[in-house]
Protein backbone atom coordinates (compact mmCIF):
# COMPACT_ATOMS: atom_id res chain seq x y z
CA UNK A 1 0.00 0.00 0.00
CA UNK A 2 2.70 2.53 -0.90
CA UNK A 3 -0.16 4.63 -2.32
CA UNK A 4 -1.14 5.51 1.28
CA UNK A 5 1.77 7.95 1.43
CA UNK A 6 0.45 9.82 -1.61
CA UNK A 7 -3.18 9.73 -0.45
CA UNK A 8 -2.54 10.96 3.07
CA UNK A 9 -0.04 13.37 1.59
CA UNK A 10 -2.74 14.90 -0.64
CA UNK A 11 -5.02 15.41 2.37
CA UNK A 12 -2.18 16.90 4.40
CA UNK A 13 -1.20 19.30 1.59
CA UNK A 14 -4.78 20.46 1.05
CA UNK A 15 -5.63 20.95 4.70
CA UNK A 16 -2.29 22.60 5.38
CA UNK A 17 -3.05 25.15 2.66
CA UNK A 18 -6.53 25.68 4.06
CA UNK A 19 -5.21 26.14 7.59
CA UNK A 20 -2.46 28.52 6.46
CA UNK A 21 -4.84 30.73 4.45
CA UNK A 22 -7.47 30.72 7.21
CA UNK A 23 -4.93 31.59 9.90
CA UNK A 24 -3.35 34.39 7.82
CA UNK A 25 -6.75 35.96 7.08
CA UNK A 26 -7.93 35.84 10.70
CA UNK A 27 -4.61 37.13 12.09
CA UNK A 28 -4.56 39.98 9.54
CA UNK A 29 -8.18 40.76 10.41
CA UNK A 30 -7.43 40.77 14.11
CA UNK A 31 -4.47 43.14 13.69
CA UNK A 32 -6.60 45.60 11.66
CA UNK A 33 -9.68 45.31 13.84
CA UNK A 34 -7.77 46.72 16.82
CA UNK A 35 -7.14 50.00 15.00
CA UNK A 36 -10.64 50.49 13.56
CA UNK A 37 -13.35 51.85 15.91
CA UNK A 38 -16.41 49.62 16.26
CA UNK A 39 -18.96 51.94 14.64
CA UNK A 40 -16.99 51.82 11.40
CA UNK A 41 -17.14 48.02 11.16
CA UNK A 42 -20.07 47.45 8.87
CA UNK A 43 -20.53 43.86 9.97
CA UNK A 44 -21.19 44.58 13.66
Amino acid sequence: MEDAGFIVGSYVVTFAMVALVAWRFVRHGRRLAKQVPDDEKYWL
Partner: protein
Protein backbone atom coordinates in the same frame (compact mmCIF):
# COMPACT_ATOMS: atom_id res chain seq x y z
CA UNK B 1 -3.31 77.13 18.35
CA UNK B 2 -5.65 74.67 20.06
CA UNK B 3 -5.71 72.53 16.88
CA UNK B 4 -2.35 70.96 17.59
CA UNK B 5 -2.93 69.78 21.20
CA UNK B 6 -6.25 68.04 20.56
CA UNK B 7 -5.92 64.35 19.55
CA UNK B 8 -6.83 64.55 15.83
CA UNK B 9 -9.02 61.39 15.97
CA UNK B 10 -11.63 61.20 18.72
CA UNK B 11 -10.74 57.99 20.67
CA UNK B 12 -13.65 55.60 19.97
CA UNK B 13 -13.80 52.19 21.48
CA UNK B 14 -12.72 49.20 19.34
CA UNK B 15 -14.00 46.41 21.52
CA UNK B 16 -14.33 43.57 19.05
CA UNK B 17 -10.70 42.98 18.06
CA UNK B 18 -11.52 40.59 15.23
CA UNK B 19 -13.42 40.31 11.96
CA UNK B 20 -15.45 37.43 13.38
CA UNK B 21 -19.16 37.62 14.17
CA UNK B 22 -21.62 35.06 15.42
CA UNK B 23 -22.37 34.18 11.80
CA UNK B 24 -18.75 33.44 10.90
CA UNK B 25 -18.22 31.46 14.08
CA UNK B 26 -21.26 29.30 13.24
CA UNK B 27 -20.08 28.93 9.65
CA UNK B 28 -16.58 28.06 10.85
CA UNK B 29 -17.95 25.39 13.14
CA UNK B 30 -20.02 23.89 10.33
CA UNK B 31 -16.98 23.89 8.04
CA UNK B 32 -14.81 22.09 10.57
CA UNK B 33 -17.50 19.46 11.25
CA UNK B 34 -18.10 18.78 7.55
CA UNK B 35 -14.36 18.53 6.97
CA UNK B 36 -14.12 15.97 9.74
CA UNK B 37 -16.85 14.00 7.99
CA UNK B 38 -14.99 14.34 4.71
CA UNK B 39 -11.81 12.89 6.15
CA UNK B 40 -13.71 10.11 7.88
CA UNK B 41 -15.60 9.11 4.75
CA UNK B 42 -12.85 9.92 2.26
CA UNK B 43 -10.16 7.90 3.99
CA UNK B 44 -12.20 5.47 5.99
CA UNK B 45 -15.73 4.41 5.11
CA UNK B 46 -15.83 4.78 1.32
CA UNK B 47 -14.76 1.69 -0.71
CA UNK B 48 -11.80 1.55 -3.09
CA UNK B 49 -12.49 2.18 -6.76
CA UNK B 50 -12.46 -0.72 -9.27
CA UNK B 51 -9.88 0.83 -11.59
CA UNK B 52 -7.63 3.03 -9.48
CA UNK B 53 -8.26 1.37 -6.10
CA UNK B 54 -7.25 3.64 -3.24
CA UNK B 55 -6.17 6.57 -5.42
CA UNK B 56 -9.81 7.62 -5.77
CA UNK B 57 -9.66 8.89 -2.17
CA UNK B 58 -7.50 11.76 -3.35
CA UNK B 59 -10.34 12.91 -5.57
CA UNK B 60 -12.58 13.59 -2.55
CA UNK B 61 -10.21 16.43 -1.76
CA UNK B 62 -8.91 17.23 -5.24
CA UNK B 63 -12.25 17.77 -6.97
CA UNK B 64 -13.60 20.18 -4.31
CA UNK B 65 -10.35 22.18 -4.52
CA UNK B 66 -10.69 22.53 -8.30
CA UNK B 67 -14.37 23.44 -7.85
CA UNK B 68 -13.51 26.21 -5.36
CA UNK B 69 -10.61 27.52 -7.50
CA UNK B 70 -12.88 27.99 -10.52
CA UNK B 71 -15.75 29.32 -8.35
CA UNK B 72 -13.33 31.89 -6.87
CA UNK B 73 -12.32 33.15 -10.31
CA UNK B 74 -15.95 33.32 -11.45
CA UNK B 75 -16.72 35.45 -8.37
CA UNK B 76 -13.70 37.65 -9.17
CA UNK B 77 -14.95 38.14 -12.71
CA UNK B 78 -18.49 38.88 -11.49
CA UNK B 79 -17.23 41.33 -8.87
CA UNK B 80 -15.06 43.05 -11.47
CA UNK B 81 -17.95 43.30 -13.93
CA UNK B 82 -20.36 44.66 -11.32
CA UNK B 83 -17.82 47.26 -10.19
CA UNK B 84 -16.95 48.32 -13.74
CA UNK B 85 -20.42 48.39 -15.27
CA UNK B 86 -22.45 48.99 -12.10
CA UNK B 87 -23.97 52.45 -11.67
CA UNK B 88 -22.33 53.50 -8.46
CA UNK B 89 -18.93 51.76 -8.82
CA UNK B 90 -19.10 50.51 -5.23
CA UNK B 91 -15.70 49.51 -3.88
CA UNK B 92 -17.33 46.64 -2.01
CA UNK B 93 -17.47 44.56 -5.18
CA UNK B 94 -13.87 45.41 -6.00
CA UNK B 95 -12.83 44.10 -2.59
CA UNK B 96 -14.97 40.99 -3.11
CA UNK B 97 -13.17 40.36 -6.41
CA UNK B 98 -9.77 40.89 -4.80
CA UNK B 99 -10.48 38.65 -1.81
CA UNK B 100 -11.89 35.92 -4.05
CA UNK B 101 -8.83 36.05 -6.30
CA UNK B 102 -6.48 35.67 -3.34
CA UNK B 103 -8.42 32.62 -2.17
CA UNK B 104 -8.51 31.30 -5.75
CA UNK B 105 -4.74 31.51 -6.12
CA UNK B 106 -4.21 29.49 -2.93
CA UNK B 107 -6.66 26.81 -4.08
CA UNK B 108 -5.16 26.59 -7.58
CA UNK B 109 -1.78 26.02 -5.97
CA UNK B 110 -3.25 23.15 -3.96
CA UNK B 111 -4.97 21.84 -7.10
CA UNK B 112 -1.68 21.66 -8.98
CA UNK B 113 0.19 19.94 -6.14
CA UNK B 114 -2.53 17.41 -5.34
CA UNK B 115 -3.21 16.93 -9.05
CA UNK B 116 0.37 15.91 -9.68
CA UNK B 117 0.28 13.55 -6.67
CA UNK B 118 -2.87 11.95 -8.07
CA UNK B 119 -1.29 11.84 -11.54
CA UNK B 120 1.72 10.06 -10.08
CA UNK B 121 -0.54 7.29 -8.82
CA UNK B 122 -2.87 6.92 -11.79
CA UNK B 123 -0.71 7.83 -14.79
CA UNK B 124 2.64 7.13 -13.17
CA UNK B 125 3.90 10.62 -13.96
CA UNK B 126 3.76 13.90 -12.02
CA UNK B 127 2.80 16.15 -14.94
CA UNK B 128 0.86 15.50 -18.11
CA UNK B 129 0.24 18.04 -20.89
CA UNK B 130 -3.46 17.56 -20.39
CA UNK B 131 -5.74 20.39 -21.48
CA UNK B 132 -7.36 20.86 -18.08
CA UNK B 133 -4.11 20.66 -16.11
CA UNK B 134 -2.24 23.05 -18.43
CA UNK B 135 -5.09 25.57 -18.39
CA UNK B 136 -5.10 25.46 -14.60
CA UNK B 137 -1.36 26.10 -14.50
CA UNK B 138 -1.66 29.13 -16.82
CA UNK B 139 -4.60 30.37 -14.78
CA UNK B 140 -2.40 30.20 -11.71
CA UNK B 141 0.15 32.55 -13.31
CA UNK B 142 -2.56 34.92 -14.63
CA UNK B 143 -4.09 35.37 -11.20
CA UNK B 144 -0.71 35.88 -9.58
CA UNK B 145 -0.47 38.70 -12.15
CA UNK B 146 -3.93 39.94 -11.08
CA UNK B 147 -2.91 40.04 -7.42
CA UNK B 148 0.32 41.83 -8.38
CA UNK B 149 -1.69 44.43 -10.34
CA UNK B 150 -3.85 45.07 -7.27
CA UNK B 151 -0.77 46.22 -5.38
CA UNK B 152 0.27 48.80 -7.99
CA UNK B 153 -0.94 51.73 -5.89
CA UNK B 154 -2.87 54.85 -6.82
CA UNK B 155 -6.27 55.74 -5.40
CA UNK B 156 -8.76 53.03 -4.45
CA UNK B 157 -10.90 53.68 -7.51
CA UNK B 158 -7.85 53.54 -9.82
CA UNK B 159 -6.87 50.23 -8.23
CA UNK B 160 -10.43 48.95 -8.54
CA UNK B 161 -10.78 49.93 -12.19
CA UNK B 162 -7.41 48.50 -13.18
CA UNK B 163 -7.99 45.22 -11.31
CA UNK B 164 -11.50 44.87 -12.74
CA UNK B 165 -10.18 45.13 -16.28
CA UNK B 166 -7.43 42.58 -15.63
CA UNK B 167 -9.94 40.31 -13.87
CA UNK B 168 -12.24 40.31 -16.88
CA UNK B 169 -9.38 39.85 -19.35
CA UNK B 170 -8.18 36.83 -17.36
CA UNK B 171 -11.62 35.26 -17.81
CA UNK B 172 -11.54 36.02 -21.53
CA UNK B 173 -8.25 34.10 -21.66
CA UNK B 174 -9.55 30.84 -20.09
CA UNK B 175 -11.56 29.55 -23.08
CA UNK B 176 -8.80 30.54 -25.51
CA UNK B 177 -6.12 28.70 -23.53
CA UNK B 178 -8.34 25.66 -22.98
CA UNK B 179 -9.33 25.47 -26.64
CA UNK B 180 -5.75 25.78 -27.89
CA UNK B 181 -4.38 23.19 -25.46
CA UNK B 182 -7.19 20.72 -26.21
CA UNK B 183 -6.65 21.16 -29.97
CA UNK B 184 -2.94 20.69 -29.39
CA UNK B 185 -3.32 17.59 -27.25
CA UNK B 186 -5.74 16.02 -29.71
CA UNK B 187 -2.76 15.71 -32.06
CA UNK B 188 -1.30 13.20 -29.61
CA UNK B 189 -4.17 10.72 -29.43
CA UNK B 190 -3.14 8.69 -26.36
CA UNK B 191 -6.43 7.85 -24.67
CA UNK B 192 -6.97 9.64 -21.41
CA UNK B 193 -8.35 6.75 -19.36
CA UNK B 194 -9.03 8.72 -16.24
CA UNK B 195 -9.69 12.46 -16.31
CA UNK B 196 -9.06 14.33 -13.05
CA UNK B 197 -12.65 15.27 -12.35
CA UNK B 198 -15.99 13.60 -11.91
CA UNK B 199 -15.89 11.72 -15.20
CA UNK B 200 -15.42 8.51 -13.27
CA UNK B 201 -18.75 6.90 -12.49
CA UNK B 202 -19.15 6.98 -8.71
CA UNK B 203 -22.02 5.76 -6.73
CA UNK B 204 -23.22 5.19 -3.23
CA UNK B 205 -20.72 5.97 -0.54
CA UNK B 206 -18.09 7.31 -2.92
CA UNK B 207 -20.46 9.86 -4.41
CA UNK B 208 -21.53 10.87 -0.89
CA UNK B 209 -17.93 11.47 0.14
CA UNK B 210 -17.42 13.66 -2.91
CA UNK B 211 -20.63 15.54 -2.09
CA UNK B 212 -19.47 16.12 1.53
CA UNK B 213 -16.17 17.38 0.13
CA UNK B 214 -17.81 19.91 -2.21
CA UNK B 215 -20.17 21.13 0.55
CA UNK B 216 -17.43 21.52 3.16
CA UNK B 217 -15.12 23.38 0.78
CA UNK B 218 -17.93 25.69 -0.34
CA UNK B 219 -18.64 26.55 3.32
CA UNK B 220 -14.92 27.11 3.80
CA UNK B 221 -14.80 29.41 0.76
CA UNK B 222 -17.66 31.58 2.04
CA UNK B 223 -16.05 31.74 5.49
CA UNK B 224 -12.70 32.81 4.06
CA UNK B 225 -14.38 35.35 1.77
CA UNK B 226 -16.25 37.00 4.65
CA UNK B 227 -13.11 37.38 6.74
CA UNK B 228 -10.97 38.61 3.87
CA UNK B 229 -13.45 41.19 2.54
CA UNK B 230 -13.86 42.57 6.07
CA UNK B 231 -10.08 42.91 6.44
CA UNK B 232 -9.84 44.63 3.07
CA UNK B 233 -12.67 46.97 4.03
CA UNK B 234 -10.70 47.91 7.12
CA UNK B 235 -7.51 48.33 5.06
CA UNK B 236 -9.31 50.85 2.80
CA UNK B 237 -10.79 52.49 5.89
CA UNK B 238 -7.36 52.92 7.45
CA UNK B 239 -6.08 54.35 4.16
CA UNK B 240 -9.02 56.74 4.26
CA UNK B 241 -8.39 57.56 7.92
CA UNK B 242 -4.73 57.97 7.15
CA UNK B 243 -6.00 60.53 4.68
CA UNK B 244 -8.06 62.32 7.39
CA UNK B 245 -5.08 62.35 9.74
CA UNK B 246 -2.88 63.71 6.96
CA UNK B 247 -5.62 66.24 6.06
CA UNK B 248 -5.80 67.40 9.66
CA UNK B 249 -2.02 67.61 9.79
CA UNK B 250 -1.88 69.65 6.58
CA UNK B 251 -4.60 71.98 7.77
CA UNK B 252 -2.81 72.33 11.11
CA UNK B 253 0.39 73.03 9.21
CA UNK B 254 -1.41 75.69 7.20
CA UNK B 255 -3.13 77.42 10.12
CA UNK B 256 -0.05 76.98 12.28
CA UNK B 257 2.05 79.16 9.93
Amino acid sequence: MTMIDQDPLPPRASTSGTTATRATRLLGLATIMSMAWLVAFGLGFSPADRDQEEAVRILYVHVPTIWIAYLAFVVTALGSAIYLFGRNHSLGFDRLAGASAEIGVAFVAATLVVGSLWGRLTWGVFWRWDARLTTTALLFVSYIGYVAVRRLGGSHHQRARRSAVIGLLAVLEIPLVHWSVRLWRSLHQEATVLDPGGDIDMDGLMLFSLFVGVVSFTLLYVWLLMHRTRSMAMEDLLDEQGLDVALEARRAEASGR
